[in-house]
Symmetry: C2
């Protein structure tokens, strides 16, 4: 059922083009780094975990394209590739984690030949891919216990198979609950400006036969007040050491509304989304994107082309609004700073 | 500067077609009641005060179209017209107020000839039109005191000239503040699904040279958290006796967020928007509109055509979240039930 969102095949990185879903399922075939970096910037591939895996394949792509035999030239070539990829999305931390892990391969093994290093890079990219698949299933299994029979869960953006290799973070929790035979429903926020909820989450959940109702972002509060919502599940783009969480713009709004309505608010994110070098949310850079995304949608203009716009792609939800994190190492509850460090900082 | 949104001219009701703004300024010319009721349903004319004035002209339209001379037939004809108009939007109370005032003309003056009653209807519709213009300016003058120099105010939907005859409720406050020489800015929520903020409010404020920044509805919380927002100003579609306020979906969300961020939340509404026969918000019927409004964006499809949708057009903000009402009789603060009754129930 889960076709991979991003994978390596025949010397290229292949991606489902998420800007065309749900109307067309087409692939982007990246045979060079520039195509891949552009695909990340344009959100043809998106979701912090999927971007991380794509970045690993990006280094592999740069590696296979190198035709020389000198390590110094190879290392410089790889450094440039990492730099190029790092510039594509500033908020998703998985990207930087992966680039750091890749860099450790060449900085840590100066004795390797170019051929040996190429094999190590290939093996690492494949391992990151496989690890993401496993981690999503483990998060799903831990998180599904938070879904009770008859519950309606609310989600925002797409924290699904399309945001990972193939199962999802927040939506992975729903897939695991479904697999356990639980009956529940999902309300999906459409997620302006790029409508990942309407386009991707509804598509994914319908395919998985999870009952889903689409709402505008502004309707979440009214849905909560009417008693429809039992819990909120979101993904994350970067979590600081204290639990402050950057995620799709609108997530913070849902967290405040959930607090007001006494509804639990869960963040589902793999360990690779945690950034223990950033102490709090104020240290997370927030990408601002093009005004045209807000002025219209896919070519349909709402406001005039000169309307002034504020378009932050993410917001930061302070840890105090988060009921718990669902990770591959289990459900982590407050006090978050202490418990996140204890659960995630060691090697497990 | 303010061309009327709705007016009577040459035997017809003329409306700016708000579904085509800001890209095209075209008029809908209603020579019969059906065209007018359809225009209300399709939101070619919208905003509770503008709908009220349009309904007055609607009765005038029905009246001028009547060619007989018998009062009984005329009264039946007018009753049918009122019934037809009442069915067009269930939430906007101004519509029902106006229809009640119109009905009082024929039920209260059985001695009038058809010609006399026609003149009375024409005079009443014209008076409602003129009254709305005056009331908006009075609200603006009371409300502008709440705008401080350097403030950024947040608004949702379009509570402007386009929602009234020609000046606005919430936006009228901004026009009055501007006229007083105050420097301030406005953040406009785009207001999904029909984008009245992006399409109408940005257009109006740009024309009036009030600096305006467009945001998606989901960005309001982040804007508040960043300290950008000094106050929220909204219009209303119906206010119950206790101050509970039905307004565009997303208003309740802003009210909760404003409370959390300790930002004042003001509702700007004329007396005709208050419904003292409805004791609380739970008695206000909430119109649910077509799923297609949420599935797409100005004709561009986002979700699949079979996606299940929840699309309430309005939500109810409980009185406890409202800092004050701005009315033509002044700014009304809590305790709201008592103070609204005292200020608005008498004839002033």
């Amino acid at each position: 059922m889960f076709k991979p969102t991003v994978y390596w095949s025949q010397g290229a990185v292949k991606l489902i083009d998420q800007t065309r879903l749900p109307h067309r399922t087409t692939m982007v075939i990246c045979r060079d780094l520039k195509t891949l970096a552009t695909a990340i910037r344009r959100l043809q591939v998106r979701g912090a975990p999927a971007i991380g895996v794509a970045a690993g394949f990006g280094i592999q792509l740069a590696s296979t394209r190198f035709k020389g035999s000198g390590r110094r030239a190879f290392d410089r070539h790889l450094e440039r590739a990492a730099y190029h990829l790092a510039a594509s999305r500033p908020t998703a931390v998985n990207l930087f984690h992966v680039l750091d892990e890749m860099k450790a391969l060449w900085t840590g093994a100066p004795e390797f030949s170019v051929a040996q290093l190429k094999r190590a890079i290939q093996a690492k990219a494949a391992a990151l891919y496989e690890e993401n698949r496993q981690v999503c299933r483990r998060m799903g299994d831990h998180g599904e216990r938070l879904i009770s029979d008859g519950m309606t869960a609310l989600t925002i953006c797409n924290a699904g198979a399309l945001a990972t290799v193939d199962y999802g973070t927040a939506l992975g929790v729903f897939y695991s609950a479904k697999a356990k035979g639980k009956r529940f429903e999902v309300f999906a926020c459409e997620t302006r400006p790029l409508l990942q909820g309407a386009r991707l989450t509804v598509w994914e959940l319908e395919r998985a036969k999870v009952p889903v109702t689409l709402i505008c972002d502004s309707m979440a509060a009214a849905a909560m007040r009417s008693g429809k919502i039992g819990a909120v599940f979101t993904g994350a783009d970067r979590v600081a050491a204290n639990g402050d969480t950057a995620n799709k713009i609108g997530t913070y709004s849902l967290a405040v509304l959930a607090k007001y309505h006494k509804i639990p608010f869960y963040v589902v994110a793999p360990r690779s989304t945690f950034d223990f070098r950033t102490s709090s949310g104020s240290g997370i850079p927030i990408e601002e994107r093009s005004a045209d995304e807000v002025r219209g949608f896919q070519g349909a203009a709402a406001a005039s082309a000169r309307a002034r716009v504020w378009n932050p792609a993410f917001d930061v939800t302070p840890a105090r609004l988060i009921t718990a994190f669902v990770t591959e190492r289990g459900v982590i509850v407050p006090p978050l700073k202490k418990n996140l460090k204890r659960a995630l900082c060691g090697h497990g």
